[in-house]
């Protein structure tokens, strides 16, 4: 059963140097994401990944097409959608002077819920930092904390925008484990990434975007089968002497 249905979704902006013309940041894309999937959106910078996510999250208006999350129309009921999604944005700054516990409690309150903040911090291995301020966390800890914030409403769908950009290999692997663990409990995860290894090892299906369009969408395995270049020809062995010998025979002369 698909939990996200996107049809002909588009976002257009006036051109910066000629506002009478518009360009499409997202040019009418369609895809559907199954419940319980980890779905990756790949693409170079400016391909429209973040814009697509922000439309799904109700952050920016949908100009054309439609998007449904768990049967709710994002365009007409953004606030209902926000109740059931968790979002990690690319920038993850928070109010100064609040501890992790206080921030998590705040986020839960924004959903009109109460949560066990310590339990949530345990999930992302930050219990010992409960009283710390986000400004004092390392890059990996910050990312894990922003995922903890995104989990404050126990969402059905988790959106992660480039979650591992700028992390060291250890922190990256650690975050993958976290995502896999959340997914194994049934959470649908949609993530954007530049990291091919991440897409290949983490995502069950991948959409590759370029210039606002989805140019390919499938499982990593199938994408490799269809689009990877032919394996190179076996390299030639031997040298010109072998050729000479092959043409003139091995028998001794004289």
């Amino acid at each position: 059963m698909s939990i996200i249905e996107v049809k002909n979704l588009a976002k257009k902006y006036p051109l910066p140097d000629d506002s009478s013309k518009t360009f499409y940041a997202v040019a009418g894309i369609s895809f559907s994401i199954e419940a319980g999937e980890i779905y990756g959106i790949l693409g170079p910078n400016g391909a429209g990944k973040t814009t697509t996510l922000e439309m799904l999250e109700g952050l920016i208006d949908i100009d054309e097409g439609s998007a449904f999350i768990d049967g709710i129309d994002v365009g007409s009921n953004p606030f209902e959608v926000k109740e059931i999604i968790g979002v990690q944005l690319q920038s993850n700054e928070y109010f100064d002077n609040l501890s992790l516990i206080e921030l998590l409690t705040l986020f839960a309150t924004l959903y009109d819920r109460s949560i066990d903040a310590i339990n949530l911090l345990e999930k992302v291995q930050l219990v010992e930092k409960a009283q710390a301020k986000p400004a004092n966390l390392s890059g990996g800890q910050k990312q894990r904390f922003s995922i903890a914030c995104a989990l404050a409403n126990n969402p059905k769908v988790l959106f992660l925008d480039e979650p591992t950009t700028g992390l060291d290999p250890q922190a990256k692997r650690n975050l993958w484990d976290l995502v896999l663990q959340l997914n194994s409990n049934g959470m649908t995860v949609v993530l954007t990434t530049h990291n091919m290894e991440e897409a290949e090892s983490l995502c069950q299906r991948i959409a590759i975007m370029d210039h606002g369009n989805v140019v390919a969408e499938d499982t990593p395995q199938n994408l490799i089968l269809t689009h990877a270049p032919e394996p190179p020809m076996a390299p030639l062995h031997g040298n010109i002497e072998d050729v000479f010998l092959a043409l003139t025979g091995h028998g001794l002369r004289d």
């Binding site: 999250e57 920016i60 700054e93 109010f95 002077n97 609040l98």
Partner: protein, 363 residues
């Protein structure tokens, strides 16, 4: 009634403010230092006001008059001819020159005394002229030997005679309130937007209304506490007198806070960058500091500027607070200020709701 979410968010904003020791310190530091300086300046033997007197009649009455003037510790009198005194006035040696006419006698129409002042000293003048008039009246009474019947009335005038600090406190309250409110809405919103915090909040189901309500609640609490602290310091340590009703004072403080919060929201919506917020913020704040009668009365300003000065939002609030604190005016008596405040409230509210586009602000 505020919802649970709004109250929680308001509590968070309060907590953030309370943990920001620096901004608490500075929001109190300036007004307290300012008042203290003036209190020390006023507490010592006050510098006498140097006035020059030109005695054109030289009769017993005028000499007696000058003697009484000399006896008053407020004035330092020097006698000379008009030309000499004029040049000393221009040099700044003298605050003003009083010219007694040729015919300085008791007469039915009253005697007109000419007062020459230096326009550059205009701000002091607003404070001095009433003092001078008061002294003239008491001298006159002494001269005419008016009986103690009047001394009661004179006592009354004395009891209400203002120290500069009494005048200053309501102005400083209004000024501090403006700073706190504009910082609370305009500057903070810009910061939250720049850091992406607004965007993060907007992917939760929080409504713009909740966000704004909680900022307003938090800032009202902050302003009421800061104003109370300032008034307490002024009354208990600096012996400033507040004669009016505190409920009326607090009502004005609340209204003022709401007006400047609205203007702050406009600011945060119009100005998209940190530099722009600072620049536009200064355009809003600076003229009001100097024109709104915070430090000296609007009456002492050039006549051309007065009409503009009077309609600034800070003027209405400072004037209203001053009338209550200094003269014990009731709300009914300050209706002109209240009308001004109401008009600014409507303008601020309409502008803020018109300009504050949540999605733009969040992005």
């Amino acid at each position: 009634m505020p919802t649970k979410t709004q109250l929680h968010l308001a509590k968070v904003f309060l907590k953030i403010f309370l943990r920001d020791r620096q901004s608490i310190f500075f929001s109190l530091f300036f007004p307290v230092i300012f008042m203290s300086v003036f209190s020390f300046a006023n507490n010592g033997s006050q510098d006498p006001i140097t006035i020059g007197v030109v005695d054109n009649s030289s009769n017993t009455l005028s000499q007696g008059f000058i003697e009484s003037l000399n006896a008053n510790p407020v004035f330092d009198v020097s006698l000379d001819n008009e030309t000499a005194l004029r040049s000393r006035l221009i040099e700044g040696d003298m605050t003003l020159v009083l010219i007694l006419p040729d015919e300085f006698v008791e007469q039915a129409g009253g005697t007109e005394l000419n007062l020459i002042v230096d326009a550059a000293q205009v701000q002091q003048l607003g404070l001095i002229v009433p003092l001078l008039e008061q002294t003239l009246i008491s001298i006159e009474r002494e001269f005419r030997n008016i009986e103690p019947m009047f001394s009661l009335a004179i006592e009354d005038v004395e009891a209400r005679s203002q120290r500069y600090l009494d005048f200053l406190l309501p102005g400083l309250l209004a000024f501090t309130l403006m700073q706190l409110s504009i910082a609370g809405s305009g500057f903070n919103i810009e910061e939250y937007r720049r850091k992406g915090i607004l965007k993060r909040l907007f992917v939760t189901p929080i409504k713009p209304k909740d966000f704004i309500t909680s900022i307003v609640i938090a800032r009202l609490v902050i302003c009421l506490i800061q104003m109370s602290v300032l008034m307490a310091i002024a009354v208990f340590f600096l012996e400033v007198s507040i004669v009016g009703n505190f409920i009326s004072l607090y009502l004005l403080i609340i209204l003022g806070t709401v007006i400047f919060l609205c203007l702050g929201f406009c600011l945060g919506s119009i100005a998209k960058t940190q530099q722009a917020v600072m620049a536009v913020g200064n355009i809003v704040i600076f003229p009001q500091i100097f024109l709104s009668g915070v430090f000296y009365p609007i009456e002492s300003m050039p006549a051309l500027i007065q009409p503009i000065a009077r309609v600034l939002p800070l003027s209405f609030i400072a004037t209203g607070l001053r009338e209550i604190a200094n003269s014990g005016a009731t709300l009914l008596e300050i209706i002109p200020s209240l009308i001004g405040i109401a008009v600014w409230f409507v303008i601020g509210f309409l502008l803020a709701t018109r300009l504050f586009v949540w999605k733009e602000v969040a992005n």
